[in-house]
């Protein structure tokens, strides 16, 4: 075992891999920009992409276009698209980090009930915010809903992790079944809250269970987007740690990682990302499993690439799905969760079937 051959070619191929990764990131970013401009142009008052671009470049107080068009682009459609991007990034990032934490590509915040936990938190705040949770709502103000969603997501993630990992190794079957049970439990409590709620609350709850980006304003963007940016940045700092964790907790420790600290950070990050996304847009399923998986197939599993690429890919998917949500039944709007589920559920099944013939999955 001492023959030295081919070490030069490995370096060349490695450079190729980095180049293809850079290309993939660029491609995603460009596609996101294009789709975003298309998304801003689409609606009851359709605007051609070049015009959208010019209005955007003209600024929110631009005078060279009719004031109506400037308001529609800047005050109505742009905040919605920005929010769609951020929500998509959070969903995909939450999925990718959760898969790294559980060391399994089937882990997903929606499938495993984390989103249900977040929705339960949000719904509890809606229904009980004027009653039992009144003092909390009063203290937290506009942040009450996202914080309640975060608390729900965190609870489910912690319980799930405690149940499905023992002595550093995760049981896939236990993880999936525990996720099903937790989602069902959250649904049961939500059902009870629905029973307690009045008509307006009921409409809000329906919105939360299917997801949607209607009614997004700059105010909402300003509340949640800074936190989302911080979440995305801190995920990328965790990338090398998540890479090390891929081999197992003991191995990661042997290689010099502070495993417990990384796990805590990852759990917190999954809960914040999912909680925020759900608080803003309700339950939007399957983004967290579809996007990271496709990216891994395309350019590899290295988290330093996967995490930023997932943010872009998730954003691209949600902005596109939101176009579908607005166009398919216009002038009405389809809940966006229906669209992602229609794409994601068959994809998940395909993944399960592939898994049977794939070693070590």
């Amino acid at each position: 075992m001492s023959a030295v051959r081919g070490s030069v070619s490995t370096m060349g191929q490695k450079r190729d891999r980095w180049r293809s990764r850079a290309a993939a990131i660029t491609l995603l970013a460009v596609a996101l920009l294009v789709v975003a401009i298309l998304a801003i142009g689409i609606g009851p008052m359709a605007l051609p992409p070049m015009r959208v671009l010019k209005i955007l470049l003209g600024g929110p107080d631009g005078r060279s276009f009719p004031i109506g068009e400037v308001v529609i682009v800047w005050q109505i459609r742009l905040p919605r698209v920005v929010m769609a991007m951020m929500v998509g990034a959070m969903l995909a990032l939450g999925g990718a980090v959760m898969q790294g934490l559980f060391r399994n590509p089937l882990a997903d915040p929606t499938i495993l009930g984390v989103s249900s936990g977040a929705a339960l938190g949000a719904v509890s705040m809606i229904v009980l915010g004027s009653g039992a949770l009144g003092p909390v709502a009063l203290v937290l103000g506009g942040y009450a809903l996202p914080i309640a969603a975060f608390a729900g997501a965190l609870t489910v993630t912690l319980v799930l992790y405690a149940i499905s990992t023992q002595a550093g190794s995760t049981s896939v079957a236990t993880m999936l079944l525990a996720g099903v049970a937790l989602a069902a439990f959250a649904a049961a409590i939500m059902g009870y809250l629905v029973f307690l709620s009045d008509d307006t609350q009921l409409r809000d709850i329906t919105f939360w269970s299917l997801g949607g980006l209607g009614g997004v304003t700059w105010d909402k963007v300003v509340v949640s987007c800074p936190v989302m940016l911080v979440v995305a940045a801190s995920a990328i700092v965790m990338a090398r740690g998540l890479d090390a964790l891929v081999l197992g907790e003991a191995e990661a420790f042997h290689m010099g990682l502070r495993v417990e600290r990384l796990k805590k950070q990852a759990i917190l990050l999954v809960a914040i990302a999912t909680g925020l996304a759900v608080a803003v847009a309700g339950i939007i399923g399957f983004v967290g499993i579809v996007v990271p998986h496709l990216l891994r197939l395309a350019v590899g599993a290295d988290h330093r690439f996967l995490l930023p690429a997932s943010c872009l890919g998730g954003a691209l998917l949600i902005v596109s799905a939101d176009i579908g949500a607005r166009m398919l039944v216009s002038p009405a709007e389809l809940p966006i969760g229906i669209i992602t589920a229609a794409i994601g559920a068959p994809f998940f099944l395909w993944l399960l079937m592939r898994r049977r013939s794939f070693v070590g999955f």
Partner: protein, 278 residues
């Protein structure tokens, strides 16, 4: 002394599964640990690596209690090959080996790449860098893991400190040529001043390559000696419950072990004749 294990006891699920055990490993030595399944070999090496905290006693690396060292400090001084590793994501061989340096923020990209290439060459996998780890055979995966461990430890001696390699059954799914290859790598590591401790099942490999053998039985050390005297003492027959003949083949510098299969081998042969006569 590079590693000193002082009166450690490991307790799991309310039961003492190891100890009390004491031993010392000096620079330039290859020690193998042998013993029946469940004797506590993996437990002992996991305690040596800092992964398991002893309920009593302590483990010192270069004089410092490893319980007080940060994971990153430990990682530059000792590397560990675990018994089995599966990966659920499509990582390439290069990426798996490079994980060894993932927490080393002090190294630049060129150094990383050189170390990865060198480690892969050492385990005879130079052309495998861009293959997917999941698609390799069990033996190839085990060699990739060994390359990762070699990549992590780097030079056997750095800053006048000997590095420690801990290998838990490094040869379990390898063909005979690569078994010898792995132990040759270990041998070279200790000859350059490093320290290796390996759990092995193959007694002949252990006797041929190690400076010292430790026999574990039910969580305690049953024997601890150089291979020659240890084999001569008959302790292996006693611990494994199998008669063994010690051979001294002409021209070999070390003795060989031949377990006596005849008692056990006869039984199935007899029973195989029975049904055909019935």
């Amino acid at each position: 002394m590079v590693l000193a294990v002082e009166e450690i006891e490991i307790v799991a699920a309310g039961r003492r599964i190891l100890g009390p055990v004491s031993l010392e490993l000096g620079a330039g030595s290859l020690t193998t640990i042998v013993g029946p399944n469940g004797a506590g070999k993996s437990t002992l090496v996991r305690a040596m690596s800092g992964e398991l905290r002893p309920a009593r006693g302590r483990v010192r690396l270069h004089g410092r209690d490893i319980a007080g060292l940060a994971p990153a400090q430990l990682a530059t001084r000792r590397a560990v090959l675990p018994q089995a590793s599966t990966i659920a994501f499509p990582f390439t061989v290069n990426e798996v080996v490079a994980l060894a340096l993932g927490q080393r923020f002090d190294l630049d990209a060129a150094v990383r790449q050189r170390r990865v290439g060198k480690a892969l060459a050492a385990v005879d996998l130079s052309g495998f860098g861009d293959r997917l780890y999941q698609r390799l055979s069990g033996g190839e995966q085990q060699r990739v893991q060994l390359a990762r461990v070699l990549c992590q430890s780097g030079e056997p001696v750095e800053d006048a400190e000997a590095k420690l390699l801990i290998l838990d059954e490094p040869t379990s799914s390898l063909d005979i040529r690569h078994q010898v290859g792995v132990l040759t790598i270990a041998r070279r590591f200790v000859e350059a001043g490093g320290v290796v401790v390996a759990v092995l099942h193959d007694l002949n490999l252990a006797a041929a390559f190690s400076d010292r053998m430790i026999v574990l039985e039910a969580g305690t050390i049953a024997a601890d000696d150089a291979p020659g005297p240890l084999l001569a003492s008959g302790v292996l027959s006693k611990v494994f419950g199998i008669d063994m003949t010690i051979l001294h083949p002409g021209g070999w510098s070390r003795p060989a072990i031949l377990p006596d299969f005849s008692d056990h081998g006869d039984t199935p042969r007899k029973s195989r004749h029975l049904p055909s006569e019935a």
